[in-house]
Amino acid sequence: MTELERMLADSAERLFAGTSSLADTERMEQGQWPAQLWSALEQSGLIRLFVGEAEGGASATWAEGLPVLLAAARNLLPVPFIDTAVCAGLLSRLGLPVPDGPIALGLSRGGEVVAAGNSPTLSGSLTVPWGRYASHVLVRTTMAHDQQPLWALVPANLAAIDTDANIAGEARDRLRFDDAAPTHWAAADPLPSMRCPDALGALLSAIRIAGTLERVLDQTVAYAGERTQFGRPIAKFQAIQQQLAVLANAVVAARMATAAACAALPQPDWAWRAMAAKVICGRAAGQAAAIAHQVHGAIGFTYEHSLHFCTRRLWSWRAEYGSETHWAQQLGKHAIVHGGDALWNFVTDRKSL
């Protein structure tokens, strides 16, 4: 862990623990935007961790910033912190200015937006997490005439919005653009290999899952230590211990798959590592949610208990930007086409550990 990584992680944990509360998360699910929380996060400057130093950011690499994103998920922040931080980092790498306010990421997911013209304008629709709360949407699309990539920063108020939400009450809105003019755009990709833009969304989902899994483990281990049955804490029963061991496995694997994909982001192999991360995290999400509920018993099934804030998110995120089945199929197809002999080099291809 680099010094910057440690410093960012510590200040993230302090900031999130000090500013956010489950009450905010609950109100967000009822449609109340936590404006105070958002302005506290924005004022802290941490949200610009991936932005270059010259533009007031911390200039962190994706790997160095990962613990901050995980902490945001672990603290169930009911705002698009991860989305905005990553969009700001992408804008910075594209050489575009970073606007104030929440930025949502518009990948090809669930629709299509095309760009046309010398000063390109955007038309079409797509599903955008947090769309209705965003001040800007960073859309990744292609030019209609030559299929070249285009990243466009569009004011969200240029879109017509059909609202929707996942089972955790997070806004998953449909944004429709009709000849919308971006404030800024770049005809290039900020990452190597963007043949499959949704892989970036898959990685963000994996990060959300991995961070939330850590909360699930901590919370479930703590509960098993507190809850007494047959005269002793249920944590003392081997049947419970064996289940919590499997839950721990899921947490360790999810974190590693996510970290490996983030570390790979400067290289072309990031895309398949992101797909692998979504496969691992998607599976881990289902497994962990089942174990956590089993260990918590009936109380964990009540709205009053907080476990559902985690598990409803896990069940939502594992399906967003492609399920584990979707990405496994892409990975498997690639591996089959290249054959058994190519597999080992594929896995070790960074010429190192």
């Binding site: 790997a63 483990l217 901590d218 499997v246 496995n249 360790v252 970290a259 570390a263 058994g340």
Partner: protein, 383 residues
Amino acid sequence: MSIAEKIIIPPAEPDDSLADLRGQVRDFLHRTIGQLPPQQRAQSWSGHDPEFSLALGREGWIGMTWPKSYGGREQSMLERYVVLEELLAAGAPVGAHWVAERQSGPLLMRYGHPDVAQELVPAIARGELRFCIGMSEPDSGSDLASIRTRATRVSNGWQINGTKLWTSNAHRAHYMIALVRTSPATQERHAGLSQMLVDMRSPGLQVRPIKNITGAAHFNEVVLQDVFVPDRMLVGKAGDGWAQVTTELAFERSGPERYLSSYALLTEMLDHADADNACHATELGTLVAELATLRQMSCGIAAMLNRGENPGQAAANVKDMGALFEQRIPEVAHQLFGTELLAHGGPFTATQAYLTQVAPSFSLRGGTREILRGIIARGLELR
């Protein structure tokens, strides 16, 4: 610090300097075992080929991290890791030196009588010496502290009586490192145990092969009847056996052997699968994602060990997940292809047939799944 943070494995830093070594090992493997059929590659660290071990010793790839005075190369644990994972991914027959290199050599250097270590360890590094480990007994499996094999003090040494069971490669080994009781069991169950180096040619020592479910005989019953062990063959201090065994097991934490046992069948499946078949692609893609992640975890642990850090319970997590992965591969092969496992079915079938039968042992050897999860639970501070 939260429990979750404690068990996280930091990813290994990329290190381009390892690429040359990796290339050399691949060239060597291509030359020596390039034509090995998959059903033999599947045997990997059960595969026994003394000539191959000698050749590996000549390359300097046994005991790479050991001091030069012991025949080692004083290389890093990450360099050793690269060699190990290349050997195992290629299914190299490493069984003739595996135990000696992984456990016995480090144990002797650390605890053995200096003269004995000086004599034996360089021979291990040359790939000449084979070791077996005498731990389990007829009534002691997971509950190792209950062993009954006893060593009693005699003039100039010890006399051992008892029976060891499931001792892999005892029939081929030159030496056994035996865990024995040197003083009677007390309340402190782990006290009174000691490790002894036993020459397999000793009078009174009898090795009886035990066929496993495939009909092959890799493990054995070893009966010790008044076997004499000279003083200098006591490893470490009498009574310290348990602590030493625990350290010894730390030498073998979460290496590539913990997830690559069924690798030969995974590559066979990729060669036989249909890329346009959604079931094939999905199941195999899942295995590829798991393979990549297990490798990253295993490398992360190797990097922690290399930095002198204690990977703690995370190593047990990797071992548990690795065994699940290895055991799932023959199951997936059955689901996807449903091939009848006939004797004349060809290499793919033979590989699947072999791994289907040996897979149950993957979560038994070196600590059962249940014991391992108990260790994980301890890391979670549940017990």
